[in-house]
């Protein structure tokens, strides 16, 4: 279980970085969402191999899964959600101000500026 999960976390992280390096705003946001999934999976991995362990219930069967990383992941998911929401609104405002839905459109020079700089 650990091997598959770590490979999955690596694949997710790689895809996320590839998406973030794109021009289009939508792909950048999806990249960051995937990145937060990848790192949450990484934290889950740190709780150890869940095979053969039981649910963390008081007076339940004894070797139970470590519940702390799950609490960490919950906090991290919520924080990531808030930050992604902010980023989505920021990109929407950039779209409203500059009519740009990709980074090349955002940082393009107007033809008038090119005239001035000549």
């Amino acid at each position: 279980m650990q091997w598959e999960s770590s490979i999955l976390a690596g694949v997710l992280f790689g895809v996320a970085v590839w998406l973030v390096l794109h021009r289009s705003f939508v792909r950048i946001i999806f990249g960051f969402i995937l990145m937060s999934h990848a790192v949450n999976l990484l934290i889950l991995l740190s709780s150890g191999d869940p095979g053969g362990k039981h649910a963390p219930i008081i007076n339940g069967p004894m070797p139970f899964v470590d519940p702390l990383p799950q609490a960490l992941i919950l906090t991290a998911i919520v924080i990531g959600f808030g930050v992604i929401a902010y980023m989505a609104v920021l990109l929407y405002r950039l779209f409203l101000d500059f009519r740009a839905s990709s980074t090349t459109q955002l940082y393009r020079e107007e033809p008038a500026e090119r005239e001035k700089s000549k």
Partner: protein, 501 residues
């Protein structure tokens, strides 16, 4: 109530009260000023307590260290708390004088207080994941402050700021996850206790490098500093002074805390990487500063190179160099924030920030010129101002460690810093180009200059009373490096589960 938690509670309550009060009014302003003054007093009182008795700990919720989160305050934390609360107070008063109440953005004060909350929590915490949460609170407030009063062009600069910081937060989470899997705990004291056992483990090196990368992104070291010089100049002056004085300070504080107290002291590779990145930052930051044409741009690039000085001292990693780093932080925060405020007064008088259109300030407002001279020369490192002592300590620590190339880079960067300060001096103060007008009839500028003058007086007293402050820095450095005391204070905290761990 144990007063360790006060630096976290006071900004929270102030922010909520300011939000409830809604419209910016004189009453709200008085409340915020009073709360910020109480904050300064609490920080100083905690500092005195830590000077006398050593680190203090408080378990949140009453759970002992093995189960819960502990807030730990030692002399290093209280020095940082005091500095940041002074800068917040100065920035708020400056902002109040700059705009009358009806023009102020209603969310600016609550956001500044939430920023304070996150920063104080980062200074006080003794747990790695709590540090992540504190950073996220701080960053969220800073994202909002960055875009709050930004006009259409400035908002472009928020985009790299947000993306790079999200990446840094993701990496911090990854480092926290790896820390948990390696050490089994996220508490600083417990990590410090078990880190000695993992001394040769390559996983420890990986975690140390991850922390280095993350907090280099937050502090603004080469090659991660791209977001800083473009986003800070877009802020209004008091918020820019706040950001530059306080926000990157947290990154440097965490580097100090992690490398001195938590991780083992013999991480040669991480320390040398930190040294060389700092050297590059110092040089490139100051070259960038010379290239800019508007005051806030120059000061933002300066900030990069000064951060390089501080992290260079951390990278040398001897008790004397950690002392130098802490003294430099004390000197730098006051000087940098006051320079931003002085630049703001100049911009207020000339109605512009652009050096090409500024001028004539020395003839019309020599008081500002004197303030700028004191602070600018202090930044460049002229004796007997505080910058000289800071740089002297760093250079001596470097020579003792026989890192002569880096000491040479330090001296070159200081000379170039002087050059960039002269650029502002020539353009804004001595020069009188054709189109520049000095609006002396603007009634605001004496009060704004007064706020900057108070900070300048504090900085001058640091310079003239350098011995006392160096002793303070030495004691703070000893407190930071003394891991056994830190571990002992945390593990003897009595929790409600009966046992001390």
């Amino acid at each position: 109530m144990n007063s360790v938690v006060l630096p976290v509670i006071i900004p929270l309550l102030t922010a909520i009260a300011a939000l409830i009060m809604g419209k910016p009014s004189l009453a709200r302003r008085i409340l915020v000023i009073a709360a910020s003054t109480v904050q300064v007093a609490v920080a100083i009182r905690l500092g005195v307590l830590c000077w006398n008795d050593g680190p203090r700990a408080m378990p949140i919720g009453g759970w002992s260290a093995a189960l819960g989160i502990i807030l730990v305050v030692d002399l290093l934390s209280t020095v940082m708390l005091t500095l940041s609360s002074i800068i917040v107070l100065a920035g708020e008063i400056y902002g109040f004088y700059e705009l009358p109440a009806r023009f102020e953005h209603p969310l600016r004060i609550p956001l500044i207080q939430f920023l304070m909350l996150g920063i104080n929590l980062a200074f006080c915490t003794g747990d790695l994941f709590n540090l992540f949460v504190a950073f996220e609170v701080t960053l969220m407030a800073s994202y909002a402050l960055l875009t709050l009063e930004a006009d259409n062009w400035d908002i472009k600069q928020a985009f790299p700021y947000v993306t790079i910081n999200i990446l840094a937060s993701t990496l911090l989470l990854a480092a926290a996850g790896m820390c948990y899997s390696l050490f089994g705990t996220l508490n600083f004291a417990h990590i410090a206790r078990t880190a000695a056992m993992h001394a040769g483990d390559p996983r420890l090196q990986i975690i140390a490098m991850l922390f280095l990368v993350v907090f280099s992104m937050k502090a603004g070291l080469f090659p991660f500093y791209y977001w800083l010089p473009h986003s800070y100049p877009t802020l209004p002056t008091p918020v820019a002074a706040l950001f530059s004085g306080v926000l990157t300070n947290v990154g440097i504080y965490v580097l100090l805390r992690l490398f001195c107290t938590v991780l083992p002291h013999d991480m040669q590779f991480a320390h040398s990487v930190l040294m060389w990145l700092s050297g590059m930052t110092m040089l490139l930051g100051v070259i960038g500063a010379i290239s800019r044409n508007y005051i806030r741009g120059i000061l933002s690039f300066h900030k990069l190179s000064q951060v390089g000085f501080m992290t260079l001292a951390i990278g040398f990693f001897t008790p004397a160099s950690i002392t130098a780093a802490i003294f430099y932080i004390i000197h730098y925060i006051i000087v940098k924030s006051s320079l931003f405020l002085i630049g703001g007064v100049g911009a207020c008088l000339n109605r512009t920030d652009n050096l090409a259109s500024m001028g004539g300030l020395w003839r019309n407002a020599p008081f500002i010129g004197i303030l700028f001279l004191c602070q600018g020369l202090s930044l460049a490192g002229l004796p007997p101002l505080s910058g000289f002592w800071g740089k002297y300590l760093i250079v001596v620590a470097g020579i003792r460690k026989e890192e002569f190339i880096l000491v040479g880079i330090t001296i070159v960067a200081s000379v170039l810093t002087l050059l960039s300060m002269l650029k502002i001096w020539q353009a804004a103060f001595w020069g009188e180009p054709e189109g520049s007008v000095v609006h002396r009839e603007d009634r605001r500028w004496p009060r704004l200059a007064g706020v900057a003058a108070v900070l300048a007086i504090v900085s001058l007293s640091i310079g003239f009373g350098a011995e006392g402050f160096i002793r303070l820095s030495q004691k703070a450095a000893d407190a930071a490096l003394d891991r056994n005391r830190y571990i002992e204070v945390v593990t003897t905290v009595q929790g409600k589960d009966g046992e001390a761990h």
